[in-house]
Symmetry: C2
Subunit: 206 residues, 2 copies
DNA sequence: GAGAAAAATCGACATAGTGTAGATTTTGTG
DNA sequence: CACAAAATCTACACTATGTCGATTTTTCTC
């Protein structure tokens, strides 16, 4: 079962199968955009990748596994990008930077991210992947809130609980906005940013 | 196609079919709790309702239609409850009341609400139902924010945009919390309430 | 309460998609 | 080259869906 274990890859030459695997994932992403998860069949993916259904089952055990691998690939990318971002010391700047990065990520990978969210309930592995991603994001929000002076702790008015709610707010706002126009993404982002700032006690009028 | 048009009901005596229709919806709800949407088959629902698949198709054209009707029934109930609630003049009280009511609704109907959210993308009719529900809720938040002094308007720091983000925050927080324990629902609710209050400028320290 | 119209139910069929298995071809390696 | 591993194909069995025509049951009307 390739696709589940990307480890044990200590081979210099790239197998033909690696090519195919990537082709399958790429095709899957296209089809997801074109016809959506439900309508997309294993036969469609195979055809798009230039093989038969039978051959596809050599790589992945089901449509769900294909999509899981696609989500894993995408989410890996998100994590990398997050790790590579230097956190600012100034909370205001940190928030602005985080929101800017979030817009980029949703613009580039919105489709797969939405798919991951939709399938989180149905496909446990995707659920884990995504909930881990959310945890990372929540952690970043906690850090910013605390540096801005919000007390640490899990009570409703302390950083951890607030960060969790803010994380869901951002997820859902972007989920919906990214289905509409890039413009509405900007607007949603600005609204989320303002609320985040307010929660951190960083708005002028407060 | 019954189940789509609950109008034109000007009949005193209750048809036998109305009974069955309700039995189908009830069974569907049970099965949803038991095995989830995907695993639940049309045959299962029919069996639970005491008829054959063929007979079920007399009432509903597909599994999706059954679930849509179930969501419609539930959502109708939500709307009624909302309409029946008197809005307080004091924003603080209004917010507290809204959150209390929201907890009740999720405790009672969490399963169907989660299902509605999950299927919003896949089943357009459910999407409409749910987005209308979200609009109602957003409207209520707007009203409270404005009464608390937040300027009206669609800019990121004005009532409409903020209310939308807050609505998604609440939806998503409850969605997740209601999958866990009633306790985590309370916590999530308290966090959302605190953020809402903060956005309305109603917290002491601000 | 008898009979006709409408409502409800059934069983059988056709279709579409899934996953599996065995045979076969391609590819890399000593 | 020969042989093992990788990759691919075709055919099959299974499950669930949705449709149809025939049949039975309910309901309405006089």
């Amino acid at each position: 079962m390739p696709g589940t274990q990307p480890a044990r890859r200590r081979r210099a030459t790239e197998r033909k199968g690696d090519l195919r695997e990537r082709a399958i994932l790429d095709t899957c992403e296209s089809l997801l955009a074109e016809k959506g998860y439900e309508a997309m069949t294993v036969g469609d993916i195979a055809q798009g990748a230039g093989i038969t259904r039978g051959a596809l089952y050599f790589y992945f055990g089901s449509k769900q596994e294909v999509v899981t691998a696609l989500v894993a690939r995408t989410v890996e990318h998100l994590w990398e990008r997050s790790r590579a971002t230097a956190e600012s010391d100034d909370p205001r700047q940190a928030i602005a930077a985080a929101m800017r990065r979030t817009i980029e990520l949703w613009n580039e990978h919105g489709l797969v991210m939405r798919t991951a969210i939709d399938l989180s309930l149905t496909v446990p592995e995707i659920g884990q992947l995504w909930s881990h991603t959310a945890d990372l994001f929540t952690g970043a929000i906690v850090a910013v809130l605390e540096r801005a002076g919000v007390p640490a702790g899990g009570a409703p008015d302390q950083a951890a609980a607030m960060a969790r709610a803010l994380c869901w707010m951002i997820e859902r706002s972007f989920y919906h906005a990214s289905q509409e126009s890039p413009g509405s993404l900007e607007l949603a982002s600005a609204a989320c940013e303002h609320i985040w700032l307010t929660c951190a006690g960083l708005t002028r009028q407060g």
